[in-house]
């Protein structure tokens, strides 16, 4: 079976032999290893991607289900070579990155939140990120990164 979808703005297709998950397809045949596997069962958020703008755990989503939909991964955010998206820039500036393993998922979850709510309260940020585990930061500078991202996006628009 073949699945076709838009990956970071480009049409892609990939043949499936069975019930492959989106995460395996992204990291395997499509070579997008920026999306991380932290648990493989929907508990950590490291694999967060956007599907039609909504955040999904790619480790739970059968690849067949993204047929015809638009998938955005961490590789799809930077507007141009050498540039960062406001969310990426904010995490870099505000110290939201330590080991960085949770970072792609954190940034994708933050982007999905800000796409839906451009100016979230702290409590909303914390709730939006409750499914994204980080063992390094204690979250304080991640929350500040999301606030900073909201500000940068505001400036940009």
């Amino acid at each position: 079976m073949e699945v076709r979808f838009t990956l970071n703005g480009r049409e892609v297709s990939c043949s499936l032999v069975g019930s492959e998950l989106l995460l395996d397809v992204l990291r395997g045949p499509l070579g997008h290893r920026g999306t991380k596997e932290g648990c493989g069962k929907g508990e950590c958020g490291a694999c967060t991607v956007q599907v039609d703008g909504h955040p999904f755990n790619a480790c739970l989503l059968p690849a067949a289900e993204v047929e015809g939909r638009a998938v955005t991964t961490i590789e799809g955010l930077a507007p141009a070579p050498g540039e960062l998206s406001p969310e990426q820039q904010a995490f870099v500036e505000a110290g939201g990155i330590q080991c960085g393993f949770c970072t792609p998922g954190m940034i994708m979850a933050s982007k999905a939140l800000l796409d839906a709510d451009p100016d979230p309260a702290d409590a909303d940020i914390r709730h939006a990120l409750v499914g994204n585990l980080c063992r390094c930061t204690g979250y304080a500078q991640i929350i500040e990164s999301v606030r900073r991202a909201a500000a940068l996006r505001g400036e940009g628009s």
């Binding site: 991380k36 960085g100 585990l133």
Partner: protein
Amino acid sequence: MTYMGTSPTRPDAAAKATGRAEYISDAVRPGMLHGAIRFSEHAHARILRIDTSKAERIPGVRAVITAENTPEVRLGFLRDNLALKKGKVRQFRDEIAAVAAIDPDIAAEAAAAIEVEYEPLPAVFDPIEALAEGAPLVHDVDPRGRPVTSNLMPVHFRHFSGDVEKARAASAYVAEGEWSTPLIQQTCMGTAGCIAEFDPQMNLTVWAKTQIPFLAQRDFNGALAQMGLRNKNARVIVPALGGGFGTGLDTHCYEYISILLAWKTGKPVKVQYNRDQEFAYLSPRQSATVRMAQGCDRDGRLTFRHVHVVQDNGAYGSWGATYPSVMLLPATSLYRVPNIYFDCELVYTNNTYAQAMRGYGNPELTFALESNLDQLAEEAGIDAAQLRLINCNEPNEVTPMGLKVATCGLRECLEQTAERLDWDNKRGAPDGTARGVGMASLIHVGGSGRIYRSDASGVILRFDDWGNLYLSSGGVEMGQGLHSSLQIVAADAIGVAPDRVFINQTDTSTCPWDVGTHASRGAFTACNALLMGATKLRDKVFRAAVELYPQLVEEALRKQRKRDPDAPAPSFDWRSRIDADAFDLREGQVFLSNTDDPVLRVDLGKLIRAAHFRDGGGQMFTVEAFYDPPSELPDWEQGQGNMSACYTFGTQGVEVEVDTDTGDVRILKMAAVLDVGKVINPQILRGQTIGALAQGVGYALYEEVKTERGRILNPNFTDYKIPTAVEMDFPIELEFVETDEPTGPYGAKGIGEPGLVPTAPAIANAIADAVGVRIHDLPITPEKLLAALRAKNEEAT
């Protein structure tokens, strides 16, 4: 100094933010096979028969190995572990066989198809029972084959000073009790894995998730020798680490298994754990039981401390079996105590074997010590903060263990914590609410911890022809920010912009020796080595400048005159000032230290190229430096020796509210005041400290690896809960006390671990203040708290 104390963008941030950093889970080698391991299904059993024939017949399988068809590879500092087990298994996760196949699914299928026949043996899971007469022996012979008669491990850490019995009898007040801490998982978000690959000359390369690349090289070279590959070498390359937290302090069976599979197949072999496997098969932090008694006189001066520790080590020894070396720090040296008894027993059981985790024995001991101190304060009728201040460590003291404390900000840490918590108003307030405040302090190694002959770090510095600085360090960046510290200190000490400092990937073939990134030592030792190297490198540049600077300035002047014939001449006679000592280098420009005239500032790259292409023989600008801290390898039997160049102190305070109906604990606020010597990068320091504190909150309230007869019951994040952004939703007031440590690089102390050391006792003490019950075993779950509250109410009625 321009960059010390600022937060330039960390060098690894953009790669991590764009998903381009390569972790071990992302790494691929051409022709790579995938390894899978078959683990034991018994905690203790004789292996009667292993049948690999079915596995071998599965298409895509390239090798199936067991102890029968591979050389014996021994590991662990006690040499009590085998990469592939022979004869018997001693824990559920024992490696019995392994497979290499063309993809991970086939490898897993084949590993499952291996048939193993066991004869179960009586097992022992409780360290006290394991010490009893007639208990089943986990190891019946030692690594040399001599019979063993007890499950007690052959490691000894003790300290006796003064006369504890006499002091106890003379004490006005005494408090004692027993505390226990659980097995917990480091839960790095990036799970463990490695790739092993032999080149055609049979030299080995291992991409390893390690914190000790050079000790790993030594271990892997040892394995090559055991495999009969004499005079061959292992090279260790460290990819981006998805967290370390102590998991990289030892080499692991899975690494040796991938080496054996690569050797068998002639292909690169990757072993990658997923989360379930990480929980089930990677060593956790040890559990410990600590009996503690302390006493004081009428004025609250501590008279004695009596400590006895029992640790369940599990089936094999890792470096984790040396936790007591760090327990000795708080036991002998947190607050001033004249008479001390410390002893410990480390016990083999058929539980999963434990390994290092951040704090390394210190959180276990400090939980008991600081909880017990609150009890003593109550006994003596002295305010708990006051009791700590009365016995506070001070600068320039030598502790009973022989720790030479030069700088110590503990008094300020205690006072600041009390102030930030509004201690005087809130502590013990009978306000009708279930709110309370508590505090606890810490001492930790701040100048590395000498547990090995060498405690050194090397550095190699090299300028290229464009004035870029390449820095090779054997230290490991695992998220803590080592590379940012190196960049900042290099920029200030050498005189180049931070973004011109390129830090080489940690690789034993290109980087100088480093004992490992542990004991909060990374930045302390590597930056000290860097400072030594910086002096040499600048000296080299300035010596070249004596010869080359005049011609470069003349050339610049000539060009200037050509552009603008009326340009004023330099304001002073620079030629007469030329001297190696008169030069300075800042932001990549070489100049005479007393001018800012642009024409007298020479671009470093230009000077280097002039030196490179000089007539009659060029030169390069490469230097090395090696720093071994001024500390002593302690005598562990006596618990004596100045194990670190300096010591980090700190206090944490917490305000909690307990829901007496549900037993839930809500943290309302935390204060953390840490004597860091000097701040290198405030943003990274804050991230490290709050990150550690969150781990402390998890340790205090949530985390426990649950086992039943040696089997792990909760190998996932649903049943093993670590704090999320919601649990961490409370204000944290951080304060850094700068005591300017003379042995520290620009005055800084090591700060990697301390943030989690006093968190659990601070929370336990706050709960006791809130509701009058004290929980002695972590984690403090709602069930335990409700049971204690009920017991208290029954007592009252």
